[in-house]
Symmetry: C2
């Protein structure tokens, strides 16, 4: 049975994998992302790596069903990518056109948050589900939505911008998008520092997390969650605000879409069950009660492989006409 | 070409129509909803009316593609309806099974808010669009969601519960669902009275709307919006809060789904452009800026016909295998 070439393009490295139609990763490797020279070298380098790999494996393009790729930025209908600032692709960059000129295989490309959602649906926390929302908690907050096994892309490709819902009407926090009060300005790695700044103003209790923050003026997500777990008072207050807004955002997704699962992924989700349960407690308070037990919060399972598996799955879906 | 029988079941009346596959209403009539005797008579009465109509028109069931129906309540996978309290269908009522026993035609049934959304997509404010969210502002707040021409029903049929998102964290307003702070407890006909009660507490200005409210202790949506338009101070303050929360809810739908249109319908939407523009102003402030001009707010166009057209369209979609 034909295999799939899957690519997960990131700001510092490109992950490439050969994936079976059953979702097994047969071979996986990575290379640095060549983002210098306005990002002109990124795609040629990936193509070269794929062609060498096929030679090394003594395979031909006919052994493959096609290529699926996940990329940062906005994906346009013609397979160009724009607004991927860390790749230096500010204006539309014709990724699909370059691939199709060099490799004679079907090619699909999607946004990396959507790829992660599809990956979790296929082989991870959403296995067996048809409806899933994925929230990726890292430097920012990403979102991917799947309804009835289809990716929801929206009329201009901007669906899933859950990180930029205005969730704090008191507008205390400036977001990188220019707006104030976004979920991302509270419930991301950066958001933890924002929360700490506000809570530190009138803080009177006893806390080593507070003392550390007063020195560094920045919050490390992993350390903060560890301190909260150890019942540090200042860390617990930040953690409670952080998970409150995430629980609220999950309740919005549940009320609007009623998916089987809301999957929490990204670097911060490595905090595991302690984080999940805190989000869940807030979520269950905010959500429309008949949905409470129908739409469940769960942790991502695939880690760094979600993106490549999702890119491969999209290719499989398109080629099988779904 | 075969025609479609479309039914819009409401708490006080049932609208029935014969609809062409192009979306023209060929004939339309209505009858009272027989909700006494635990609602057991509702479906038989509708079936009888349809059979008489076919005799009157000298037509046979073979002249029809099928029957599409919209109903209040939760629609279960087997075509039963539950939780339709104003029909006295509390436990699952086997609507589809009764129809199929009596009339040998394909039958589909959906929630009335979803039917209205499909109707507007087919023949109204969403004509030519593939992605649409509809908000119905009446006694409560209903929601219907369509992505890529498909109705989003959710994993347990509860998608579109936009009226029950927790939008006011200060929890001032009790909702009929048992939760506090729901959109419906603010941005519905009932919600206007809730807002007036809170704003009246410390109100000091000069306003005839305020004086009228102090006597009646209730707000009539039409009069309130008229007073706001005439720059009555108290009415304007209520109207601004009301439209602020609606604009915020629209921004959530836009950020999450990025539809072509968010369609505002229901009785309150008769206030027209004045209402639409106020919601839009708040919406544009809250929404993720790249989506602002992509997802547009618009008024519903079909009024009371949205439900029957949507029910007919669902049947057409199902029978044409879409």
């Amino acid at each position: 049975m034909k295999k799939i070439i899957a690519i997960d393009l990131g700001g510092t490295s490109v992950k490439i994998a050969i994936v079976s139609q059953q979702g097994q990763i047969i071979e996986k490797w990575s290379l640095p992302t060549m983002s210098q020279q306005k990002g002109q070298l990124i795609v040629p380098t990936i193509i070269e790596a794929i062609i060498s790999k096929l030679e090394e494996r003594k395979e031909r393009v006919e052994d493959y069903l096609g290529i699926g790729m996940g990329s940062p930025g906005t994906i346009l209908k013609d397979g160009s990518v724009k607004g991927a600032y860390n790749l230096n692709w500010v204006n539309p960059h014709p990724v699909k056109a370059i691939f199709q000129q060099e490799i004679n295989l079907p090619f699909v490309i999607i946004n990396d948050a959507n790829a992660a959602a599809l990956g979790e649906l296929w082989q991870g926390a959403g296995k067996g589900c048809s409806d899933l929302v994925m929230l990726t908690l890292g430097t920012g907050v990403g979102g991917g939505i799947i309804c009835q096994n289809r990716l929801i892309e929206g009329s201009s490709g901007s669906a899933g911008e859950i990180g930029h819902i205005t969730i704090d009407l008191s507008n205390q926090f400036q977001c990188s998008c220019g707006k104030k009060g976004c979920l991302e300005a509270i419930a991301s790695a950066r958001g933890l520092t924002n929360l700490a700044k506000v809570l530190a103003k009138d803080y009177q209790g006893s806390s080593s997390a507070y003392q550390a923050f007063m020195v560094s003026q920045t919050i490390d997500a992993e350390k903060l969650i560890k301190a909260a777990r150890a019942k540090d008072d200042f860390a617990l207050r930040i953690f409670d605000e952080f998970t409150k807004y995430l629980g609220l955002a999950c309740s919005y997704c549940a009320n609007i879409l009623n998916p089987d699962r809301i999957v929490i992924g990204g670097g911060i989700s490595n905090a595991g069950t302690y984080l999940k349960e805190a989000i869940e407690n807030h979520y269950q308070h905010f959500v429309f009660q008949p949905i409470k037990d129908q739409t469940q919060i769960t942790l991502a399972e695939l880690g760094n492989d979600a993106g490549i598996l999702g890119a491969g799955y999209l290719l499989l879906l398109k080629e099988s006409g779904k």
